[in-house]
């Protein structure tokens, strides 16, 4: 009898301890859930704040920018006197980021060819400066440079923009650093004869336009820079994984049906395809 009673006592004590343990565990679980919820809430709130401060877009683009935030460099838009009549230019689109080394490499190769063929009216180029690589500088140089280019275009038109664009690539800062500062950009604008863009560059007046342009490019399946379209078709490098170069561009322009004009300065260059050999790099 007494043994049995002892056992009952032990059992009920055990059950009480078990209940106590379960209650303690439930308390701890609630504590964990509360701390996790607090941490997640803080991180999400901080993130939302960061995002809210950044997200822009919706600004007004410089007039005559295309609906895809492009700037058209063509014989017509620059009023070229070398334009050959009756030639319909092959349309090119250059998506470029001013800090992208591959864009500079591409521009270094094709710049001379592009300038010459645009003046003749063989091609037209729609530049779409975008800012994919803001993380490649410590000061969002991609965005600032694209904004400055829009400022120059807005103030002085396509020829000034084109020279400024070339100057930006010629003076491209290395990735990983601060990029060129605003004063340098303002000086470079002055070098191409534009001296009224200081407030526009300082205040990043076209910041929202750059954001929209960048987003539009991404939505057009542009995954990197440079992305070059020739008559609507993306230009690929001849070799796998390689950046397209001058030879690739010339071939694509010719196969897009470029009508090679008889250039006044080049009487012998009348045969299509023979006009522009890839080794013939002009600067």
């Amino acid at each position: 009898m007494s043994n049995r009673r002892k056992r009952d006592d032990r059992l009920s004590r055990g059950a009480a301890m078990r209940r106590e343990r379960e209650r303690a565990e439930a308390r701890r679980n609630r504590t964990v859930a509360a701390i996790v919820a607090a941490i997640v809430a803080v991180i999400v709130a901080a993130g939302a704040l960061v995002f809210a401060l950044q997200r822009g877009g919706g600004g007004e683009a410089p007039h005559e920018m295309t609906s895809d935030y492009g700037i058209v460099y063509s014989a017509d838009s620059i009023g070229s006197d070398e334009k050959v009549e009756g030639v319909k230019p092959v349309k090119l689109v250059f998506y470029e980021d001013f800090i992208c080394p591959a864009c500079k490499a591409f521009e270094d190769q094709v710049g001379g060819y592009v300038e010459k063929q645009v003046k003749l009216g063989v091609i037209s180029v729609e530049y779409r400066p975008i800012a994919y690589l803001d993380q490649a500088s410590t000061t969002d140089y991609s965005s600032r440079a694209a904004n400055a280019a829009a400022c120059v275009y807005d103030s002085a038109g396509v020829e000034a923009f084109q020279r400024f664009h070339d100057l930006l690539f010629a003076n491209q800062p290395p990735e990983g650093g601060p990029g060129l500062d605003d004063d340098t950009l303002i000086q470079m604008a002055e070098e191409v004869g534009v001296d009224d863009v200081e407030p526009c560059i300082d205040n990043q007046e076209f910041e929202d336009v750059v954001i929209d342009a960048t987003d539009a490019a991404s939505q057009n399946n542009v995954v990197g820079t440079p992305t070059i379209l020739v008559a609507g078709k993306e230009l690929q490098g001849a070799e796998k994984d390689a950046i397209p170069g001058l030879e690739d561009l010339v071939n694509a322009v010719l196969s897009a049906g470029a009508r090679t004009p008889v250039a006044p300065s080049e009487p012998g260059a009348s045969e299509p395809g023979a006009r522009e050999s890839p080794s013939d790099k002009q600067q």
Partner: protein
């Protein structure tokens, strides 16, 4: 009777330390990945878009929330709170990343993973080697997350403070 220092009991002693290392490695990678992306969420959206896996309407939501999710998981793992939950969520996310990278590879997309910022086109680099390395890294992390999810008892964890290990606090009979 001799004290039985069996393999099992040695493993019991070593495990919390191994789990600590696993926790810090996986959590550290999440923090690095999340923090590198959170400053430029639009770049994160572009990286998501480049995979061509997420419907257009969700690209922005995924691109913005992914860095925050990574930071949350990173913090939980590094401090060792709700370890099993964090480890399971990590494993699910890593598995999704592996599937995404493999899908991009299989479809011949020439993109970078965008795991630590950036993303989009892979230029002038060996794309195949990039995919291979990304998948190998994520498989390794997935294995660590799996171990943690299986036995989330680790040293120096907040969980450990809240739930004292019965093995070390139990009275010796």
């Amino acid at each position: 009777m001799a004290v039985d220092v069996s393999w099992r009991s040695r493993a019991d002693v070593a495990w919390p330390w191994l789990a600590l290392v696993a926790r810090l490695v996986v959590g550290g990678v999440w923090l690095a990945a999340g923090l590198s992306k959170v400053g430029d969420p639009e770049a994160s959206v572009r990286a998501v878009r480049a995979y061509q896996l997420v419907p257009d309407s969700l690209e922005r939501a995924v691109g913005y929330s992914l860095p925050l999710l990574e930071i949350c998981l990173g913090v939980l793992l590094v401090i060792g709170l709700a370890q099993r939950l964090a480890a399971i969520a990590s494993a699910v996310l890593l598995a999704a990343f592996i599937v995404g990278i493999a899908a991009a590879w299989a479809r011949g997309l020439q993109i970078e993973c965008g795991c630590f910022g950036g993303g989009g086109a892979a230029e002038g680099t060996d794309v195949t080697a990039g995919y291979r390395w990304d998948i190998a890294r994520d498989v390794g992390l997935l294995a660590l997350a799996g171990l943690l999810a299986w036995r989330p008892t680790s040293k120096f964890s907040v969980d450990g403070l809240l739930y004292p290990d019965p093995r070390t606090t139990r009275e010796v009979p």
